[in-house]
């Protein structure tokens, strides 16, 4: 099977970490002009395979060939030398450098000096050839996320990459930016590059790739030679091993207004992130908040949770004005919170699971009396929650940090749902979770909604927002850029609002 026509051929790749077999006899072939989808759930071995290709790890077994020639890749520098470029999910850019400086990192230079004019010329060439343009003198901190990603792709092309790996490239993009990315990728493939597109978003894989390699539990579970011949549900079945079972949204009765914010602003000594937010949410309703991250969502969540104090405007909970919000008061008012960053804000990874599980409730008389913890009650509560939410943990005493992402999210969910919140504030609740775990979270949200609670769902995942929300508002630069009922909403409109467009302008 050593076809010299393949641009890249990985054969029989095996890699294990201790007892875990991350890659088991994986074959991958890539031709010029290919856009190969690499599909799989978290832990399926996609990342390990790509890290082997990019020189971060060495394979235990197997060989890698480029244009029929066997090569060994010991380091990132080797990979780059063989024309392998990677666009990481977390960009590897220096914010304080200009576009040109970022392109020149690791380049040899001319006569001992940085070759700015050469880089400028090359950037123009790439722009003409593939339609990827950027202002060479802009600092990265001035670029939008989409532009930063373009810079990452240009960086790979700059190093004459023949093979381009993109790791979940759309995770951070608005829908319009994603469309732009797909166009660019098609142009690159036409130009003779081989592209590996890693994702777990089925519709994107369907949309942009021409072949798909599906991985499950470290092995190749399927190779689709023509993407057009499979449906999204085919791909889902190949990826998960079972049919997807998205939760059904029933109609629910709207209740009273539980929470309303009017003209909320923040600022003072810190940069103003909220510039007048008006929103309210009723019982039995899921309010989706869309927006590219960094447009004030985090601050909004902090204000509602009582962590960040607002400088102007009023917060009302069930008709009562809250003059001095604090985390403890908001908890008392039955406002639960699932924070964006489960590892740092949400849980204490270095402490046992039972501590993480009762942390917000530690003052309740069932968990402590006269300032002394009632450990037996805490342990039995934790065990109950582990069972009820099917958390994969050996017991309540296990260290929190040893749980997987999906299970940590279940811990947060269990903790907030245990005492039946009236308002649940959830930020990016399924980020980084695989399909099954995300479905579990969604099902919990919907059942809470049917019980009459109000849910505020802050997410960058439009699919999630459209599947769950009753109403969607879009945040842009600290303001609500628009609001629509779910039945009137379209992905295109939301995408435009996320990018800063205004209706009727």
């Amino acid at each position: 099977m050593s076809n010299p026509d393949y641009l890249l051929s990985m054969q029989g790749i095996c890699k294990s970490f201790g007892a875990i077999q991350a890659n088991n006899n994986v074959d991958l072939n890539l031709s010029e002009g290919d856009i190969l989808g690499l599909l799989g759930e978290n832990g399926a071995g996609k990342t390990t395979l790509m890290n082997i290709l990019f020189g971060t790890y060495q394979a235990d077994e197997g060989k890698i060939m480029i244009q029929g020639r066997q090569i060994t890749i010991h380091s990132t520098a080797d990979a780059l030398g063989f024309g392998i470029g990677m666009v990481h999910q977390h960009f590897h850019l220096v914010h304080r450098h200009t576009v040109l400086e970022n392109l020149l990192v690791g380049e040899p230079g001319r006569m001992g000096r940085l070759d700015f004019s050469g880089a400028r010329r090359r950037l123009l060439e790439i722009g003409e050839q593939f339609g990827l343009t950027l202002n060479p003198d802009a600092r990265v901190s001035e670029l939008t996320i989409g532009e930063q990603q373009r810079l990452e792709i240009i960086k790979a092309l700059f190093g004459d990459s023949k093979i381009l790996i993109l790791d979940e490239p759309t995770a951070v993009l608005t829908p319009n930016e994603s469309t732009g990315l797909f166009e660019a990728l098609r142009a690159l493939a036409e130009g003779g590059l081989g592209i590996i597109f890693i994702s777990h978003k089925l519709h994107e894989v369907r949309n942009v790739t021409n072949r798909v390699l599906v991985m499950r539990a470290g092995s190749v579970s399927a190779l689709v030679e023509d993407t057009k011949e499979v449906t999204e549900s085919d791909l889902a079945r190949l990826m998960c091993g079972h049919e997807l079972n998205p939760p059904k949204k029933n109609t629910s009765k709207l209740g009273d207004t539980f929470l309303s914010l009017s003209a909320i602003k923040t600022g003072g000594s810190t940069p103003q992130k909220l510039k007048g937010i008006n929103l309210s949410v009723q019982g039995g309703e899921i309010l989706g908040i869309a927006g590219v991250s960094g447009n004030g969502q985090k601050e909004l969540a902090d204000v509602i949770a009582g962590v960040l104090s607002h400088t102007e405007g009023t917060i009302e909970v069930k008709g009562e004005i809250i003059s001095k919000a604090s985390p403890r008061l908001m908890q008392k008012l039955k406002i639960g919170r699932i924070p964006e960053d489960r590892m740092t804000t949400g849980l204490v990874t270095s402490l046992p699971l039972y501590v993480s599980m009762v942390l917000p409730w530690i003052r309740r008389s069932i968990f402590s009396r006269f300032g002394i913890l009632r450990k037996n009650e805490i342990l039995s509560f934790t065990s109950k929650m582990i069972k009820r939410f099917t958390i994969q943990a050996t017991g309540p005493e296990v260290k929190t940090g040893t749980l997987s992402g999906g299970n940590l999210q279940k811990v947060l969910l269990a903790r907030e749902l245990a005492f039946e919140p009236e308002v649940l504030l959830a930020s990016q609740p399924t980020r980084g979770l695989d399909v099954a775990a995300a479905e579990f979270v969604h099902r919990q949200f919907l059942s809470l909604r049917e019980k009459g609670a109000a849910i505020i769902l802050i997410s960058e995942d439009l699919e999630e927002l459209f599947a769950l929300s009753d109403r969607i508002v879009v945040m842009y630069e600290g303001r609500i850029a628009g609001e629509t009922k779910i039945n009137d909403a379209s992905v295109e409109d939301i995408g435009l609002l996320m990018a800063g467009a205004t209706f009727g302008a």
Partner: protein, 314 residues
Amino acid sequence: MEEIISQIFQVGFFAAIIRIATPFVFATIGELFAERSGVLNLGIEGIMMFGAMTGFSTAYFTSSLWLGILAAMLTGMLMAALMGFLTVSLGLSQHVSGIGITMLSTGFAFFFYRLIFGQPSTLPNIKAFTPVGIPVLKDIPWIGPVLFEQTTLTYLAFAVVPLAAFLLYKTPWGLNLRTVGENPHAADSAGVSVSAMRYQGLIISGALMGIAGAFLVMVQFNAFTFGVISGRGWICIALVVFGQWGPWKSAAGALLFAMIDALQLRLQASSIIDLPYQVFLMMPFVLTIVTMMLVSRNARAPSALLIPFRKEER
């Protein structure tokens, strides 16, 4: 008042500023190289001390000042390499390692000095560097005696500033160094070795700190005393912040500090203002704190400063 001004602002005063600034320029630019690569080198105070001691001893026994400078440089590079082993290879806390290096180097300096010289009743001394006038330029009225009748080391110090700016901003090496200090993952994925760059930044810093220490015993004084550095290293840490991690601004900071130091020396010597001399000694430090408060509020350190780099982590 006029009397004070006429007593102080003479050619000698300005020449003194340049001379006093010299060790600060060397050590600050050194610290800058380390910090731009992402390592705070708090070993500076001790490295200067150790460099002063080895430089002095070498010059004393070989009667060659330049061999002394070389010895000081090598000493600094060695201690900085040890700092690199702790912070880059082992990834230990830069604060703790730096203070450790300072204590170790200072201890070495005192120990070896005693071992070599014992406890002499008169301080052993060397023949210090003498000013070298630059022909023609030194005859320019006013400017000549201030700028062009200095020691060779001072000329070197002020040559180091444009050289550092050139290296940092115009060469691939400098770009790689700055990238390692800002986002080591970006450097790594471009095939640049993060640890190699950090070792290089540190070793350059050590060399310059060693020279700075040697200058003090070979120009400023002509003997080694245990109080020879007396906090000058720590001042350089502040000067880098003051200079917002740029070579020109940091050198300007060194000059400003030197000016205040020269001024307080004059005020101490003159009997115009009758205050305890400790008040004058305090002046440069108080003013350092004040200017730092004013200037460094919007200073932004290299993003990866103090953060050890491990390849697998993101």
